[in-house]
């Protein structure tokens, strides 16, 4: 399985590349007052307005300081949502196990876009 990899708060994460529509330099994120805590806000990505998910909040981790560096927009059917991520970004290949994947001998937490959205919805 081809994967997109990144780090947050010292942990390595991986998203299946099939679940990713594009990676873009993060535009300004417009916060949504009274919105759910797992959502940073809204951003415009290639003419679409997408919800920007806050991975640190969703996973209960410490958020890196400053604004997010990149947005990873999900592939359909979740293509109106994106994940805010920092540096470094990379790719790799690995065989997924239960909730994790090993890439070049290094374990990564395997993320699922539907599950992230469910958490962001409070589900």
């Amino acid at each position: 399985m081809d994967l997109l990899t990144f780090q947050l708060d010292g942990t390595r994460y991986a998203l299946p590349l099939d679940a990713v529509a594009e990676v873009l330099v993060a535009p300004a994120v417009r916060r949504v007052p009274a919105g759910p805590p797992g959502v940073l806000g809204l951003a415009e990505a290639c003419g679409r307005i997408v919800a920007v998910l806050d991975l640190a909040e969703l996973l209960g981790r410490s958020a890196p300081p400053g604004a997010p560096r990149h947005l990873v927009r999900f592939a359909p059917p979740h293509d109106r949502s994106a994940l805010a991520v920092g540096q470094p970004l990379g790719t790799g290949t690995g065989t997924p196990g239960a909730g994790h994947v090993v890439i070049a001998g290094v374990p990564h937490v395997l993320l699922d876009t539907a599950e992230l959205l469910k958490r962001a919805s409070g589900g």
Binding site: G35, G47, V50, A51, S121
Partner: protein, 620 residues
């Protein structure tokens, strides 16, 4: 070929045919049946028969075939349309149930009433074709002869003379044309309408009309027009456009996402051209393109209403509960995708209302209610939202009993139940497994399939609210984003953020100063002579830090069913048309906003849903 791959297409197309057939069948009961309508009805049944056969649904195909035979007899004039109306309605309802069974992927697509309906259809057909069987005219009276082909519908030339004693003859002629337009499509008039508007009329009017009514029926209707003195009818060719009537009915099935992509392109084009000097004409063309694309996606609610009415009528009859279904907003046009997604939740609610909400007639009599139960569906646009309500005058819901049921089913604990408010308790009926159809009691007056209703509504990005008055009835309100829409709005600032307020929601804007405000019991009011308007600070309502020195505090005064309301903002920035898009998941669940719009500077404005801001959503 595995037909199951085509199931979605089959279900969608079968419902389109059934909806159209249902409308035509309703016409059989109330008026004469024009040849064109009978031909159309036959065509719809024929399509259903063929589609069902190709999917392997033999029982459905056989029923459609027998109904088709009945239509043949009707077209030949050997049967009274009024007499056929009942059995045709039953047949369509049965076909509808079979389509639902197919949609549920039931192993054997059939219906308990199918066999008896086929018997009835066969009896009608045999009776009509038997020796000495009477023929009927359109009004149901026996006639010695069948209708001849010379009375078929088509293109007709009408020469008529308007009453000479009528004042304003050109106006009278225009009125006559208006009446004729209701009988068909007028393709030519002499003198033309423009001349009539200028008062040029010598008393004679030549009209070429394409109508589904037979010439005989047209004659009867024209004779009934008050201002017509005399007239003659004759066949005519529709000049220059013989294929138009059929071509106009052609439809194309287009994937919604492709249409949406075109719509987004049109918006981008419109937005770019709108900012480019000297390209006003091109900007107008782009706007027409946008309007046309939006229009293509919209269908009237009437399309679903017919199906819902059919189901309600059928279920009420089966359960021995007479119900009257009132539909408001049939002509409201909504996105096809929303309509398709909305229909099943609505059907669930209507079925629940009849099955469990509406009491049996004897119980209603005891409760001093009208014997006929009332169910209302109302659909309306509210800025960038679509609001659909379903209400009934049945037994209503008991929040305490619902809590008890939820505890018994292990959905919540007793301590959790104590903390729930009544409105929160009502929401429990939308939990999966709350209730089953095997437990219809005072508690599960509803609940059957309400989890399906909620998930259907949420799939569309909508929200569901429930209100009840025990013994008096229940009201469900669903709010959906309408899809991409261009709306005029004011851009305002509060707490350092920009928001959009739909122009349609505003009455006026007032400058706020110490002279026109007053405080009462800790609340601030806009004071205007005798009247005062309660103010809501937007920054406070949204939990934003207040601007310490707002540049020009203003109040947006908005009408509301509960009295005028005032929204206090730090500044009104601009008035402009904005392209509002629905909020993406999971923000659709935030009730305060109806959508979001990209602004020319690249920022994003949130469109406020004012009833939700006031906390009025779902009241009333």
């Amino acid at each position: 070929m595995d037909p199951s791959h085509y199931l979605d297409l089959f279900v969608a197309e079968a419902r389109e045919h059934l909806g159209a057939a249902s409308e035509l069948t309703a016409g059989l009961a109330t008026s004469e049946a024009p040849e064109g309508a009978l031909r159309e009805l036959f065509r719809h049944l024929h399509s259903i028969k063929g589609m069902a056969a190709s999917m392997g649904y033999a029982a459905m195909s056989a029923l459609a075939h027998d109904a088709e035979s009945l239509m043949e007899r009707l077209r030949e004039g050997g049967l009274n349309p009024g007499a056929a109306h009942g059995v045709l309605e039953g047949t369509l309802a049965c076909l509808e149930r079979m389509v639902e069974a197919a949609e549920r992927r039931t192993e054997r697509v059939d219906d308990p009433e199918r066999a008896s309906l086929q018997d009835r259809l066969e009896r009608e057909v045999r009776g009509a074709a038997g020796p000495g069987a009477p023929a009927y005219d359109a009004g149901g009276h026996a006639t010695p002869a069948r209708r001849g082909p010379d009375l078929a519908a088509g293109c007709v030339r009408i020469a008529l003379i308007v009453r000479r004693d009528a004042s304003f003859p050109a106006v009278r002629a225009a009125l006559v044309l208006g009446r004729l337009a209701k009988l068909g499509r007028i393709v030519r008039t002499e003198p033309p309408m423009a001349a009539l508007r200028m008062g040029h009329f010598d008393g004679r009017l030549l009209v070429t009309i394409v109508s589904e009514h037979s010439a005989r029926a047209l004659g009867v209707k024209i004779a009934a027009i008050e201002d017509v003195a005399t007239f003659t009818l004759g066949p005519a060719e529709a000049p220059g456009e013989p294929a138009r009537p059929e071509a106009a009915k052609l439809s194309l099935r287009v994937r919604a996402d492709r249409l949406d992509a075109l719509l987004e392109d049109a918006i981008d084009l419109m937005s770019s051209l709108g900012r480019a000097p000297g390209l006003e004409r091109e900007a107008k063309t782009a706007r027409r393109l946008y309007d046309g694309l939006v229009d293509v996606r919209l269908v009237p609610f009437e399309v679903a209403a017919r199906r819902i009415e059919r189901v309600a009528q059928e279920l009420g009859r089966r359960l021995g509960k007479p119900v009257r279904l009132e539909v408001a907003g049939r002509d409201v046009r909504l996105d096809r995708g929303v309509l398709d997604g909305l229909t099943d939740p609505l059907l669930h609610m209507i079925r629940n209302a009849i099955d469990h909400g509406i009491e049996p007639p004897e119980e209603r009599r005891r409760r001093k209610k009208p014997e006929v139960g009332r169910i209302g569906i109302a659909i309306k646009r509210r800025s960038a939202s679509l609001v659909v309500t379903v209400r009934d005058d049945g037994r209503g819901l008991d929040p305490r009993a619902i809590k008890q049921e939820a505890i018994e089913r292990g959905l919540i604990g007793p301590a959790q139940a104590v903390r729930l408010t009544d409105p929160e308790a009502l929401q429990l009926i939308t939990l999966p497994g709350f209730s089953t159809s095997a437990a219809p009691n005072e508690v599960s007056g509803r609940g059957v399939g309400m989890d399906i209703v909620r998930s259907g509504v949420e799939t569309l990005g909508g929200r569901l609210r429930i209100e009840t008055r025990p013994g008096r009835g229940t009201r469900f309100e669903m709010t959906f984003p309408v899809g991409v829409a261009l709306i005029p709005a004011f851009l305002v600032r509060a707490g350092g953020e920009v928001f959009a307020v739909p122009l349609s929601a505003l009455e006026r804007i007032a400058v706020l100063d110490d002279q026109n405000t007053e405080w009462r019991d800790g609340a601030r009011f806009l004071s205007e002579g005798e009247s005062t308007i309660a103010l809501t600070r937007l920054d406070e309502r949204l939990g934003l830090a207040p601007d310490p020195a707002p540049p020009a505090p203003m109040v947006l005064v908005c009408p509301s069913p509960y009295g005028a309301r005032g929204l206090e903002v730090d500044a009104v920035l601009d008035r402009r048309e904005i392209v509002v898009r629905p909020l993406p998941a999971p923000l659709q669940a935030v009730p305060l906003y109806a959508g979001a719009a990209s602004l020319p500077d690249g920022s994003i404005a949130l469109l406020l849903d004012l009833p939700a801001v006031w906390g009025e959503e779902g009241r009333g």
